[in-house]
């Protein structure tokens, strides 16, 4: 077991790679009641075209299958795992993103039992035709719920505008039609390929003893047999750097209009420190351009183009990435124009200053301290970072290294007319 100390933060992180390839991290948090654990596979909605375990040819699976699998993993021959957790005083949950499926629990007692329940249920699939059929009704309602949600439609509408081919443009849950094709055999195919320990990460954060917890996990894993796994082959079509559509307007049953401007990211084949630096630099840049202390925010608010729902965000993963800026607005077209003007002007250095950079860096350092109060944040973000070979606890030192030159260079590179797109929701 390896121990990594973060003196400034007064935290220590413990790490071990199990013999079967599973990465285990433990972060003891004294004084907390809660232990939070996530067991995550590097398998999300975008992984729909791959070579299944022990096969040689690529296979394409229905949209929404990773999310469907997440739902079904909770059901066992003798009932529901939710029940098992709640008998042990824990609450459990799971989520599927573009790139990950995470199973988690939190509890303030019986942590060891809950931890074993988590590991065992994820490593013991049980799918039948009957339970697969039953789940189609439940997930159908989940999909319909999102169909009525204007923010979700706007978010996906914007991503769909950006991508020509990449499966990030497909809704994570699929459609009522696509999930109709899912069978238990397909679930096993995906499970066997992506739920191998070497493709997974376990994170424990809470008032635990690292030695004891690690040995508990080690013993559990040593009892199980897994086939040797070679690297998983995934297939993605070549994706142009320009956006697929410049604009999309969705008419919905709403009273307020919404508008998002998106930028399709450029450097999507990065990983590790390079990716961390790039992601933070671009995040700081957007904060300088659109943060609440910026002149742009003040002007847009004053002109009545934005309200408190205004936000901006930049995400980057392996193979895709995007920035989003916008929110509710009474004047969606004007807002779209103004945001694009601000961006294109920033390409030439406008709205960017050394002073704003220093302020933004300070702000991000404080935000990081606030975030690591949260066990959920630590576990989820750490895993995301690790899957991209980045180190969560390198955030502050990396932030400190960002220079004004970095910001100007990234603004000039990233912001490009043909990578900009707009999505709006307006009342019917």
């Amino acid at each position: 077991m390896k121990k990594i100390d973060f003196d400034q933060l007064q935290e220590s992180l413990y790490f071990e790679k199990m013999e079967n390839g599973l990465d285990v991290y433990i972060l003891p948090k004294k004084g907390f009641n809660k232990t939070f654990c996530t067991f995550t596979t590097k398998y999300g909605s975008i992984d729909n075209h791959f070579v299944p375990l022990d096969q040689t040819d690529f296979e394409k699976v229905p949209d929404g299958i990773a999310h469907f699998l997440e739902h079904k993993l909770f059901e066992k021959e003798d009932g529901d795992v939710f029940q098992q957790f709640s008998k042990q005083g824990a609450s459990s949950n799971a989520f599927t993103s573009f790139t990950r499926t995470a199973y988690l629990f939190s509890s303030t007692s019986d942590v060891e039992k809950n931890l074993i329940t988590l590991i065992d249920f994820v490593q013991d699939p049980y799918f039948t035709e009957k339970t697969v059929e039953k789940e189609k009704g439940i997930i159908g309602q989940e999909i319909t719920m999102y169909d009525d949600n204007p923010d979700w439609r706007l978010y996906f509408g914007l991503i769909q505008n950006m991508y020509h081919h990449h499966p990030v443009k497909i809704d994570i849950a699929g459609t009522v039609e696509s999930i109709a094709d899912i069978t238990k055999d397909m679930l096993y195919l995906c499970y066997n390929t992506f739920y191998h320990p070497s493709n997974m990460l376990l994170f424990v954060v809470g008032p635990v003893d690292a030695e004891e917890t690690m040995s508990l996990i080690r013993n559990n894993q040593n009892k199980k047999d897994f086939k040797e796994q070679t690297e998983i082959k995934r297939k993605f079509e070549e994706e142009p750097t320009n956006v697929a559509e410049k604009k999309q307007v969705l008419k919905m049953n709403v009273q307020s209009s919404k508008c998002l401007v998106g930028i399709k990211a450029l450097d999507v084949n990065q990983s590790g420190q390079e990716m961390l630096k790039n992601e933070l630099t671009i995040n700081v840049m957007f904060d300088m351009l659109f943060g609440k202390s910026s002149q742009n925010y003040f002007d847009l608010y004053n002109e009545g183009l934005i309200d408190e729902s205004f936000y901006y965000d930049y995400t980057q993963e392996s193979g895709f990435g995007f920035a989003m800026i916008g929110g509710d607005t009474e004047k969606p077209d004007q807002l779209a124009d103004r945001i694009q003007q601000i961006l294109l002007a920033a390409k030439n250095g406008e709205s960017l200053s050394e002073e704003a950079l220093e302020r933004s860096k300070k702000k991000k350092v404080g935000a990081f301290l606030r975030a690591i109060n949260s066990p959920e944040y630590i576990a989820n973000q750490f895993t995301r970072y690790a899957f991209n070979e980045m180190e969560l606890f390198e955030v502050v030192p990396t932030l400190e290294k960002i220079t004004f030159e970095d910001i100007k260079r990234e603004a000039a590179r990233l912001i490009e007319e043909d990578r900009l797109t707009v999505c709006q929701v307006i009342p019917k």
């Binding site: 009641n33 009545g304 300070k362 301290l369």
Partner: protein, 427 residues
């Protein structure tokens, strides 16, 4: 393990609550202002904190104010509104890094408190009125916020249930007020309301973090001072007990129907039946092992979510679920059956134990966050109780099946609300 050291002191016009803990890398300050929920004041109270947080005498524009917060290592600062029973509560929250985790030793504790004092006591006022343009801007934002509820169908149907169910009672008012009232507000009238609110509201100040009580108390004495007051109290109205349940259907262009059912529990926080009621709710619909989840979702596959919540101070139990428009009758029937089963005591010791364990877990998790801790402790202020978290946990633990059934016996169906997408094909 669950021990929370809450020290409460009577200060000039407010109560200071200090909770010392080494859990966090930050210190959190929550300033609460409580007054009765009334039709006359609700919109003023919704607008007031928005205007106060956008600028002060010391930081006279939003840009200046927000730049200053960024300088304080990105201190997070926001306001929110809540209804607790028939009270309307304004909260100002400031969370700021504890300087011991920083390389440079800026006195962030003091600066954070000075900033908050500036927001509360030194607003952007000239010639006895708020800055006119700021008020107009924030009016526009508030109108937008009121309107946005309509677009989130889950929130909308929940708000509509409360409106229908509590018609004529203050609780039917929305915490953000109404658009019509927003229009009537002027910089003058809002400033007059500010003065009244500062003079009359019940004020509570919570400080959570690795702080020394004498130090923060000295800072408070220096920075916060108000006139003494006797805050107004309200008798919570419990609705007519003999009326027939209402059934309301509303048509809108939605794909998924929203089914919301409201019950009167006739039990509020601090009463003997309250903790049994929370166990009741846990077995009925509070968790993923609950009857609603299992029967509406897992067995009948009718919904993605089917859950219930308790409004602690008004004494309401509310069920919410998203279902196919055609499944209304079946879903209502299943929910009624679960309620009947609860009333008849048709649940096992194991379900009780399971639920108690999860409630305990939930409460302990809530107090792991500074905000959650304040919300838990503030129940005492609203209900004029003095229940410690240990007592709370103990009461849940000791709850018996008979007590749960006794609580169930007090629960009366009040209103069924259904937001549906298609006309004519239900019931």
């Amino acid at each position: 393990m669950a021990k929370v050291n809450e020290s409460i002191k009577d200060k000039n016009g407010y109560h200071l609550h200090v909770i010392k803990t080494e859990k966090y890398k930050t210190n959190t300050f929550v300033w609460k202002m409580k007054a009765p929920l009334t039709e006359e004041d609700v919109t003023l109270r919704a607008l007031l904190p928005q205007v106060m947080q956008s600028s002060t005498k010391d930081y006279s524009t939003t840009t200046e104010l927000r730049s200053y917060l960024d300088e304080l290592y990105g201190a997070s600062f926001y306001v929110d509104l809540a209804k607790k029973g028939e009270y309307h509560i304004i909260s100002f929250t400031l969370e700021i890094a504890n300087e011991k985790f920083l390389k440079d030793q800026t006195p962030l504790l003091r600066k954070g408190m000075e900033f908050l004092a500036s927001v509360i006591s030194n607003p952007n006022v000239e010639d006895n009125t708020f800055h006119h343009e700021t008020v107009e801007k924030e009016k526009r934002t508030l109108r937008q916020r009121i309107q946005s509820v309509y677009d989130d169908k889950m929130r909308y149907s929940n708000a509509r249930l409360v409106e229908e169910m509590c018609e004529g009672e203050p609780f039917s008012l929305h915490a953000n007020g109404t658009k019509e009232k927003v229009d009537e507000i002027t910089a003058d009238s809002l400033y007059q309301y500010y003065q009244r609110s500062i003079a009359e509201d019940e004020l509570d100040f919570y400080i959570i973090g690795d702080v020394e009580e004498p130090e923060v108390e000295t800072l408070c004495n220096e920075l916060f001072s108000f006139n003494p007051r006797t805050p107004q109290t309200v008798e919570v109205s419990r609705g007519k007990s003999d009326s027939e349940p209402k059934e309301i259907k509303e048509n809108q262009d939605v794909k998924q129907g929203k089914l919301n059912i409201g019950y009167r529990t006739n039990i509020t926080f601090g009463e003997e039946d309250y903790f049994p009621l929370t166990v009741f709710n846990g077995i009925f619909g509070g968790f993923s092992h609950s009857k609603l989840f299992i029967n509406v979702r897992e067995k009948a596959s009718l919904a993605y979510y089917a859950a219930s919540i308790v409004e602690s101070h008004k004494g309401l139990l509310m069920v919410m679920s998203g279902i196919d428009n055609n499944n209304y009758d079946q879903a209502v029937k299943i929910i009624h059956e679960q309620m009947d089963a609860m009333k008849k005591g048709d649940f096992t010791e194991q379900e009780i134990e399971q639920t108690k364990a999860v409630i305990r877990n939930q409460l302990l998790e809530t107090i792991d966050t500074a905000r959650g801790m304040v919300e838990v402790l503030y129940h005492n202020v609203v209900s004029k109780q003095n229940i410690t978290i240990e007592e709370w946990l103990q009461s849940v633990k000791e709850t018996t099946k008979d007590q749960i059934v006794a609580a169930a016996d007090k629960i009366k169906l009040d209103t069924i609300y259904f937001l549906t997408g298609t006309e004519g094909n239900q019931s």
